[in-house]
């Protein structure tokens, strides 16, 4: 049935070189690189070596080889693949199930040779379009890459500035800290006798207190049990516990069975009851010896403190500046800090319903255009690109929680561009956002344009 053409005669005028026409004969669907295995009129051995068949069984529309290699030009083998030459564009392999399925897959139309489908050869057009877009891309890449160099340079300078400032600040801080430390030592020496006397006093008080408490607990337990054991059967049941709302840990007004279980388990043998404030008895005053030591130490301390510029060390602004500098220096701004310029910037994209806002290394958010509050779509997480291009994807997570779902998160895909812009946003899955973002910082060093184009017109 359906005797497919055994051989496809291909006349290819190779564009490069001499321009002379070269005729190649090989079975339909076989790439040039495998032609050697299909020797005309000689028995064919399946490429996996599983069996050898007569040459006329190649492309006879029946699958003889387990690896599908005997039917490169028909749909007979479930695992076969068909090679389209696509002269003028880019050669491709397609699953052999797409041969004669009525759908044009190869731009050179060679996959639909017996299906009645009318396909147009679009290879040259596609090739042209691709070359055009590659050219544009190449230009963008080129300019982008230059911008990137600038960014790297600026980042390096910025980084040095910041490091310098931090070092300076840290240096002055260190000096102050040393001073304080010295004073502390003096102070502690003075305080030691006082501390010992205080501890002695405290210890004896603790012992005394423990005795009092044990006595009290005993009484309380007996009282509490009687109070809980509503039916006076000598046991406290779950139901009885549930009737005592003062035991309710989440204060929702009811004790669930779980709560009572937890409660019973956690206090196993003795019922835990919250100690009330009035149970506390205050500590007796220090004896005179201790008191005099305390007084002496304090006066000493007050004297020394006067010499310390406390105000500078504890200045919140000073701390804040230091912290931020440390944080910024600690960020991974890419191999050459080319992403540093994005720090503390924000970029917006307005859609029909929302304004999306990306603040790199900080957060992503969304605000309805026509009123309503802002929603946090994720906080800076980490670089999340694949191994070979880690810096092509940013991940922001732990955004606002979703109803019955995860916290919102956003994946930002970075592509090379001359400008830094958010180009699109979408929500492919509920509460998982996807943002496209162009920046020169991801532009790679361009290969020469000729190289790019050549790579795609090879046959």
């Amino acid at each position: 049935m359906s005797c497919a053409l055994l051989l496809l005669l291909m006349s290819l005028a190779l564009a490069m070189g001499t321009g002379a026409a070269v005729e190649i004969q090989r079975p339909r669907g076989v790439p040039l690189s495998s032609e050697q295995f299909y020797e005309e009129n000689k028995p064919f051995t399946c490429l996996d070596g599983s069996s050898t068949i007569p040459f006329d069984r190649i492309n006879d529309d029946y699958c003889d080889c387990r690896d599908g290699s005997d039917e490169p030009g028909t749909a007979a083998c479930p695992n076969g693949s068909f090679h389209c030459t696509n002269a003028g564009f880019r050669p491709a392999f397609i699953p052999s199930s797409r041969i004669n399925d009525g759908i044009c897959d190869c731009c050179d139309t060679t996959d639909e040779y017996n299906s009645g489908a009318t396909c147009q050869n679009t290879c040259r057009e596609m090739g042209r379009k691709e070359r055009e877009s590659l050219q544009i891309m190449a230009e963008i890449t080129k300019e982008g890459f230059m911008l990137k160099q600038q960014l790297i340079h600026e980042a390096k300078r910025g980084q040095e500035d910041k490091q310098g400032k931090l070092t300076e600040l840290q240096g002055s801080k260190k000096g102050l800290e040393e001073k304080v430390e010295a004073l502390r030592t003096v102070k502690e020496t003075a305080e030691d006798p006082e501390k010992e006397a205080k501890e002695r006093h405290l210890k004896s008080w603790e012992e005394q207190k423990e005795l009092i408490r044990m006595e009290k607990d005993k009484t309380r337990m007996a009282e509490a049990f009687l109070e809980l054991d509503d039916d006076a059967d000598g046991y406290v049941s779950v139901a009885e516990l549930q009737s005592h709302l003062e035991l309710d840990p989440d204060s929702d007004g009811s004790l669930t069975e779980t709560e009572t279980q937890v409660r019973c388990l956690s206090s196993s043998s003795t019922l835990f009851l919250p100690l009330k404030a009035d149970d506390e008895v205050s500590m007796p005053p220090y004896d005179t010896e201790t008191q005099s030591l305390i007084d002496g130490a304090y006066s000493h301390l007050f004297y020394n403190l006067g010499l310390v510029p406390q105000s500078l060390i504890c200045d919140p602004e000073f701390i804040w500046i230091c912290r931020n500098l440390e944080k910024e220096i600690g960020f991974d701004f890419g191999p050459s800090a080319e992403f540093a310029y994005l720090y503390s910037q924000c970029y917006e994209l307005s859609t029909s319903e929302y304004i999306y806002r990306l603040c790199p290394f900080n957060r992503v958010s969304q605000k309805p255009k026509f009123g309503g509050s802002e929603t946090n779509l994720g906080l800076w997480g980490q670089w999340a690109g694949p191994e070979d291009s880690l810096y092509s994807v940013m991940k922001y997570d732990h955004g606002q929680g979703c109803w019955q779902g995860p916290n919102r998160s956003t994946t930002v895909k970075l592509t090379c561009g001359k400008e830094t812009v958010v180009t699109s946003t979408s929500e492919p899955s509920r509460c998982e956002y996807l943002m496209e973002f162009t920046t020169p910082a991801v532009c790679q060093e361009p290969a020469s344009l000729d190289e790019v184009l050549q790579g795609h017109t090879e046959l």
Binding site: I103, W403, Q404, S429
Partner: protein
């Protein structure tokens, strides 16, 4: 954001119905005790019936017997009509002799007035009459006092009616006290309502004139109207059917619990293994014993409850053995009781005696499964929601990139302009025709949702037309009934009105439904109907469809929606193309209009398991085109569960993946290359088997035989099969035992049939029948067996959609029986038009292997169809090695076929017979 986007309506709905829990809120749905008529009826206990037949009123005509019954307590008379129907059925109708106003009789479900056969009177005395039912010495005995009916065969009682005296007919009456005491409903006066309390009763009767559930008050201007009847089935221990319930295949006894409920409801996150009502209702029960299969079809569309009890149910195996040894065993018996809120008693007793007979009998009453377009049997990719045209294009492309076939991509409610059906969101789907053309270019199709609730919005054409034509369901006060659903405030078209249905159908015309094209089909969801703020999330029972209350016909609404939609799809093609419409709500007869699915299930292993009995139960009562959401609708499946669900779904009739809006994306390629490959393989197995699926659906359409069958249907004597619902048969010839356990290392499949053999379809290993076979499994295993004695056609060239495979060649898998015999069929037509029916354009061939020869003969000489498909390969399982194989074609030519023989598995493969699939041929092995 989530909530904000769904709109305030959903927030309200969520607040009311979810309360943040992950399970059905049972409190939203009535128990029998909370349902006044069920409670009244159930209070009536078995005993002597209050009804007496008035034999002097007996009339026997050529077509029926009529007889009056009287309730001696209240003197209300009923009229009994008995019919003997062609094909071994008996119809029993009971109505009030003189009802105050007509009682509802279900229209549009029976495909015709069932043809009768004459009844003949065998004997008559003052105790009753004996009638002959014709064949097989079957007799119908009418006993007068108390009234009961017994159907006998020889000396054996097959079935009795009212033998437990539970016939109860609440006659229509005039309300005595017109002043409603608001406290009245609360004061429960213990009156045996079902016993027809004497005249002079008051409105204070339990919920007779008014009933309140949660915040909803049901006004009952017609008062009590419920009916009840009991059936006894001696010798029966297994009953099945009455879907839809999320329960085992074999129905359980309901003593001490609620009866099975039949009332179409949108149940949020339904629970498994209980008798609660779900989206659809088919009031048909099958009984089976090793001796006989019978069916009871209770034709009533009102809310219905079914009680089942059994005299053996409570007994342990030991107890049953003791009975047997001591000879004291009473005959096992199952008693069934049907209770409906209104209408009349209209029962069809299908007397079998085989399952095949019962299927034919039921099909002769309500019709057969619609024969779907072939592509509808392929794989469907759905999600709430594919966001926009780009999303659709990307998913379509994803299938090609990962070389996974699919035929249909689905759009849920978000594709519309503000949930206005028949429209498109102008931003997300600005060019629907471009999108559909893109799918046509790939030979693929789309389904877009059209729900029956219509947004009340004066700028919406559909709403305006329905309103101006007066086509909406009315509330009790005569205004348009309105309720809340996805679009907010919505009207509900009265689909019971044939004019409304004709208008609705006309809305699917290409010039009416903008952006629709011939490769776009329809999905009817929410057609119970779902009313978010209605009682039990559905329509008020006192809403009016013309003169009838929703109470009378509630369970019919969904059927009518699908009927009108399917009609629309047929009409738009000028009657040429077969429609495809999926529905969630259904009733008896819905099989004629398309497919159903098991609604909003959950991504749990138990939900995967329950998909088998749920679809088996539907198949038994006519609905073969059934499936469950692959992956589970709510929640997110583990990768293992998703893979196992694909593997199971690939072998169930309706094969569609679907997911809730709030779940992460789960297209098949999102779980790593290994899992993509596993899912691809499951889908490819489905596509390869499409010729067999199509053939099974042709039979379902032709003769009403279910596609997916419980084992007992084919192994009627083998009691070991009677309760099996973790595996199933496709047709007679494939046995499927999907892996539905997490982390399974093996499954135990029961291979039925003493003296038969089964072949593993993957390894071709042969196993004996009548054994429990332990099958070790890996994550790639889908245990499927082909019956020795069968021939199954496949298409081995799986392509990106079923349309692409139309002209591809066939591979025949011939599994020999121990007697070296096999038989099968091949059915081919154009795959999508009615020409198979109207112009007899199809090929139907008998394939048989006997005496070492395999041949193809025409089964339908009157038909004609030309196919380019040919026979690519023949694989004979359980064969011995021949010396040669000769192909003989009708032109007298003989040619030798090459072959391979695998001695270890006894598999003979004939290489490339190459003969056209539509002609006669024979292959002789020597």
């Amino acid at each position: 954001m989530v909530l904000a986007r769904m709109g305030p309506l959903l927030v309200l709905w969520l607040a009311v119905f979810l309360s943040g829990t992950w399970a059905v809120d049972r409190g939203n749905f009535k128990t029998c005790d909370q349902c006044a008529f069920c409670k009244r009826q159930r209070a009536l206990k078995p005993g002597q019936s209050l009804y007496r037949a008035l034999l002097e009123t007996l009339e026997l005509t050529n077509t029926k017997l009529t007889l009056q019954l009287i309730n001696d307590n209240n003197k209300v008379r009923l009229l009994l009509e008995l019919y003997r129907l062609q094909g071994n059925m008996t119809r029993v109708k009971i109505n009030e002799l003189k009802p105050l106003k007509p009682r509802f009789e279900v229209p549009d479900v029976l495909i015709n007035d069932p043809p009768t056969e004459p009844l003949s009177l065998l004997s008559q005395d003052e105790n009753g009459v004996v009638l002959s039912l014709g064949a097989d010495s079957q007799r119908l005995i009418v006993s007068a006092k108390p009234f009961r009916l017994d159907i006998m065969e020889g000396r054996e009682v097959l079935l009795s009616l009212n033998s437990r005296g539970l016939l109860a007919f609440e006659h229509l009456r005039i309300r005595k006290d017109t002043q409603v005491d608001p406290e009245g409903a609360e004061k429960k006066e213990e009156t045996d309502a079902a016993n027809e309390p004497a005249e002079g009763e008051t409105a204070k009767e339990d919920g007779m004139w008014e009933e309140t559930f949660k915040s909803h008050t049901d006004n009952k201007p017609n008062g009590p109207s419920s009916i009840s009847l009991d059936f006894s089935l001696p010798g029966v221990e297994h009953v099945y059917g009455i879907p839809e319930h999320a329960d085992s295949l074999k129905l359980k006894t309901t003593d001490g619990g609620d009866p099975y409920r039949l009332f179409n409801l949108d149940v949020f996150q339904y629970e498994l293994f209980n008798p609660m009502a779900l989206y659809g209702a088919i009031p048909v029960m099958l009984s089976h014993s090793a001796q006989r299969t019978m069916g009871i079809f209770w034709l009533n569309a009102a809310e219905t409850w079914v009680d089942i009890s059994s005299n053996t149910a409570g007994k342990t195996v030991l107890g049953q053995m003791l009975d047997y040894v001591q000879g004291s065993s009473e005959t096992p018996q199952t008693d069934v009781r049907w209770i409906s809120e209104s209408g009349i008693i209209d029962v069809f007793i299908m007397l079998g005696p085989t399952p095949t007979d019962v299927f034919s009998q039921y099909a002769s009453l309500t019709g057969t499964q619609a024969f779907p377009p072939l592509s509808a049997l392929a794989y469907h990719q759905c999600r709430w929601n594919y966001n926009d045209q780009e999303d659709v294009a990307a998913v379509d492309q994803g299938f090609d990139e990962h070389d996974i076939p699919y035929d249909f991509i689905w759009l849920d409610i978000e594709h519309t302009d503000g949930k206005r059906y028949f429209t498109w969101d102008p931003h997300k789907f600005p060019q629907p025709k471009d999108m559909l053309q893109g799918l046509i270019d790939k030979r693929r199709k789309m389904v877009a949702i059209v729900d029956p609730h219509i947004k009340v919005d004066s700028s919406y054409k559909i709403h305006n037309e329905i309103r101006s034509k007066g086509f909406y369901v009315k509330n009790k006060d005569g205004g348009d009934y309105e309720g809340w659903c996805w679009p907010g405030n919505s009207g509900y078209p009265d689909f019971t009105n044939p004019e409304m249905r004709a208008w609705w159908a006309s809305m699917f015309a290409y010039d009416q439904y903008e952006g629709s094209m011939e490769n776009m089909y329809t999905w009817n969801d929410m057609n119970e109907p779902s009313v978010f703020n209605g009682p039990e999330v559905t329509m008020h029972k006192d809403a009016l469809h013309g003169t009838w209350e929703n109470r009378d016909l509630h369970n019919l609404y969904g059927l009518y929606v699908q009927m009108a939609t399917a009609e629309g799809l047929i009409e738009r093609s000028g009657g040429v193309e077969r429609p495809f419409v999926l529905t969630r709500a259904f009733f008896a007869g819905s099989q004629r209009y398309g497919a159903v699915w098991t609604g909003d299930n959950t991504a749990d292993w138990d939900h995967l398991k329950i998909s088998i009995p749920m679809c088996l139960s539907l198949g038994l009562v006519g609905v073969s085109f059934c499936g469950a959401d692959v992956g589970g609708f709510f929640k997110s499946p583990s990768t293992e569960l998703l893979v196992r669900w694909y593997q199971t779904g690939a072998y169930q009739p309706f094969f569609r993946a679907h997911a809730h809006l709030d779940t992460p994306r789960r297209e098949p390629w999102l779980f790593g290359p290994e899992n993509t490959a596993l899912i691809r393989e499951a889908v490819r197995q489905r596509y390869a088997l499409l010729p067999y699926w199509y053939q099974l659906f042709y039979h379902a359409h032709h003769s009403g035989q279910p596609v997916m069958r419980p084992l007992w249907v084919e192994y009627t004597q083998d009691t070991a099969t009677f309760s099996v619902d973790d595996q199933f048969l496709l047709g007679r010839d494939l046995l499927v035992h999907p892996v539905t356990e997490e982390g399974a290392k093996g499954v135990t499949a029961y291979l039925p049939g003493k003296g038969e053999v089964w072949f593993d379809v993957h390894t071709f290993q042969k196993h004996n029948g009548a054994q429990n076979l332990y099958i070790p499994v890996t994550i790639s295993s889908i245990p499927v067996f082909q019956r020795g004695g069968s021939i199954i056609p496949r298409k081995a060239r799986v392509r990106r959609s079923s349309s692409c495979m139309e002209h591809d060649p066939y591979t025949l898998f011939v599994a020999l029986s121990p007697k070296r015999f096999a038989q099968g069929e091949l059915y081919i037509d154009d795959g999508h038009t009615f020409n198979f029916d109207k112009q007899k354009q199809f090929i139907h061939r008998r394939l048989s292997f006997a005496n070492n020869a395999l041949s193809s003969r025409n089964l339908a000489p009157g038909s004609q169809f030309i196919t380019p498909s040919w026979i690519e390969k023949i694989v004979i399982l359980g064969a011995s090695k021949p010396s040669k194989a000769t192909l003989k074609t009708p032109d007298g030519k003989e040619s030798l076929l090459e072959f391979e023989f695998d001695a270890s598995m006894s598999v003979l493969t004939l290489r490339k017979p190459g003969v056209n699939a539509g002609v006669d041929w024979t292959v002789v092995l020597q």
